[in-house]
Symmetry: C2
Subunit: 413 residues, 2 copies
């Protein structure tokens, strides 16, 4: 690394803490970006196969213009009347199936899940939660407890279910019984519709329906966390929960909906929202401000991204399956443009160590991806949605070269 | 109200819920704003004496340009290296006295206080909290429990102290004993340095020092919530806790620091932050993104606003004291440009009802203020910091007219 980069890293550790998370052994020193490309100060041009926040592409001119124009007018709050936030809420609600008719705005997926949790507890009068193993729903105290991927003491009010293909017919009932034995009835089942942190899975509808039926029967609500997969990333449906064949009582949105502008939303029904609003009041200072609404509306204007997620995602998985024929340690999963590639242990090396090697190796080959899953051995591919075939080809070439190099290094037969 | 406004309100209730909070009997339908002025779609020009979020003035060109320029470059996250966020953290830390040397970024004051609470619990190993009566620290589940202004069942881990001038030497010890009797030691004392929701008070340093000494002696941390008064609003100090003569272990920032761009921060010391970062990890997707950092830096460039808060605030309180001579029901409090005017019961009407009448009456006189305090009978004056003498004069004229009209209506002696 350059002396300049080194000195910046020293300043960063000093100001943000020695353990502030940073990606890659050789960090990415960002300069600017557009579409699926991230440019570094050092002059690299990196293909972004990781970030779902820039949903319509990094620094998309339409979103940037909407933010700039509205910021130059007013950035007030939802206690004043603003046409944009009402239009945006109406657009989001019209896109959802079922009885979801009320929209509350916050600033992040964490705040959205925290509010969903408060709504579920208030509505049911219960205090327990079901989540998947290695779940992740955000950083507030309440949703950290719902995030079994975070290192922490187990929370007595939370039970986890195994990710697919595990999770038997009786498992959800067993989990509810264990909750009950500790004095908790289920307020909610929280499900990241993409099962991302649990390893990126795409189970059949019946898998989720079994759980949601049992939770509803026990009086709990279903919360679909769309922070990872919302807005068409699955390729088949605008919202990931539709692909799972479930009807949530609450839907939470975050990451992609503002294309980088901090924005989160909770969509639910009057019977759940209104008693809560009436009893405790609810107001987020920044949530749903006119600039956020302008950004959100500009993101919704995008045409054809879901179809591209379907087409490019299918192509990408086919190419990855081709690689898996040469590298049997690979298992390809996911849907649309949220793809996981699990790497099994091989040649005496653990899958997570191999995964880290591949992630850092790809970064040196100018490609950004991440690692995911309970064992950290799943390559996480989740690019901005303008990601197209040539980008997939570039990724596959680099990944093939990296896997061959890794094999040559570690398994030189 | 016009038919157009009526129909918009119907759509708003339908999309955001019937009990979504809205200000004033006749809502403010925003069009645009600049400095201390808010323009409505209906063509009104309202003097903003309420909003501290547009700290350097609504739609400040320097902040808007910084947001637009950086959004057109990249809006990534703190897992990538970005010069701006390091510079911004360094600037914030340099402005703070004492051992605060580590900065964590989030998206709102709520997220900042939630993280402060998690840090305090992790550091102390305790689970109890002290707050002021009618406290308000945000909307996540954890900080709602610390917000005794919110209608909710009392939380067993929270004890409240009376606001000034009450709170005797023994009260804090009694509160700690009550916590202890319920099995809780104090993780933290949370104090809004402006004592805003508790009624807007400006107690002498000794008042706060007595509490902080007792909490420290019991092993708890001190959290200074600067969401209301940070960045020089007190007129005398950049940070409100300095005015209180206290040294917090954690400082939380929100509302004004991004001038409307969603941004929050937690400033603390390595001994508190690093074990937490190391053990559980901490990452906010949007928190500290390059656009947020650009906005935050642009806000810090402002010169002279603290001196103006001092000068104009002093002038404003003098003029208000003048009004109080004619209207003995008024009591003026606060510091700098965070001013409270308590209205006592009079003429058979309760102070909170009179306060509501004045707030709505001023809105009809083209002036935005709010109501505050445990009884809702404190006028809350908290304008953007470019608020100057002519604006204070306009407010005083309107308030004098409104108070006389109210007296004539309700006490026609």
């Amino acid at each position: 690394m350059s002396a300049e980069l080194d000195s910046l890293l020293v300043r960063r550790r000093r100001a943000l803490g020695s353990h502030a998370e940073i990606s890659y052994d050789r960090p990415v020193h960002v300069s600017h970006a557009e579409g699926v490309w991230v440019h570094t100060i050092e002059g690299e041009k990196l293909l972004d196969v990781y970030n779902n926040v820039p949903h319509v592409g990094h620094a998309h001119p339409r979103v940037v213009a909407a933010i700039a124009q509205q910021a130059s007018r007013i950035a007030s709050n939802t206690r004043y009347l603003d046409d944009n936030i009402i239009r945006y809420a109406e657009r989001l609600l019209a896109s959802l199936p079922g009885p979801l008719d009320t929209c509350l705005f916050v600033n992040s997926g964490s705040e959205a899940n925290d509010l969903a949790w408060r709504l579920a507890k208030a509505h049911t009068g219960f205090g327990g939660a079901l989540v998947l193993e290695h779940s992740y729903h955000g950083i507030t105290e309440a949703v950290t407890a719902l995030s079994t991927a975070v290192r922490q003491a187990p929370a007595p009010h939370v039970e986890q279910l195994r990710a697919p293909p595990a999770n038997s017919a009786s498992e959800v009932h067993d989990a509810l019984n264990r909750l009950g034995a500790r004095g908790f009835k289920p307020a909610a089942f929280f499900l990241d519709s993409a099962l991302t942190s649990s390893g990126i899975h795409d189970p059949p509808a019946e898998w989720v329906q079994r759980i949601t039926r049992a939770v509803h029967a026990a009086g709990g609500l279903i919360v679909a966390d769309e922070v990872q997969i919302g807005l068409g990333r699955s390729g088949s449906h605008l919202w990931g929960f539709e692909r799972r064949g479930m009807q949530p009582d609450i839907v939470t949105l975050g990451k992609p909906i503002g294309n980088g502008y901090p924005l989160g939303a909770v969509l639910t029904s009057r019977r759940i929202a209104e008693p809560f609003q009436k009893r405790t009041g609810f107001f987020s200072t920044f949530g749903g401000n006119p600039v956020a609404a302008a950004a959100g509306l500009a993101v919704l204007e995008s045409e054809g991204l879901m179809a591209n997620a379907q087409a490019t995602g299918t192509y990408l998985r086919e190419r990855l399956q081709g690689l898996a024929l040469e590298h049997p340690a690979l298992q390809v999963r996911g849907c649309g443009l949220l793809v996981g590639v699990e790497i099994a242990d091989q040649g005496g090396r653990s899958g997570d160590s191999l995964t880290r090697t591949v992630v850092n190796g790809l970064r040196e080959r100018q490609i950004l991806i991440g690692a995911e899953g309970p064992r950290g051995n799943v390559l996480k591919l989740r690019p901005p949605l303008p990601f197209a075939r040539p980008h997939a080809d570039q990724l596959i070439s680099a990944l093939a070269a990296e896997l061959s190099a890794a094999r040559a290094r570690f398994d030189p037969r």
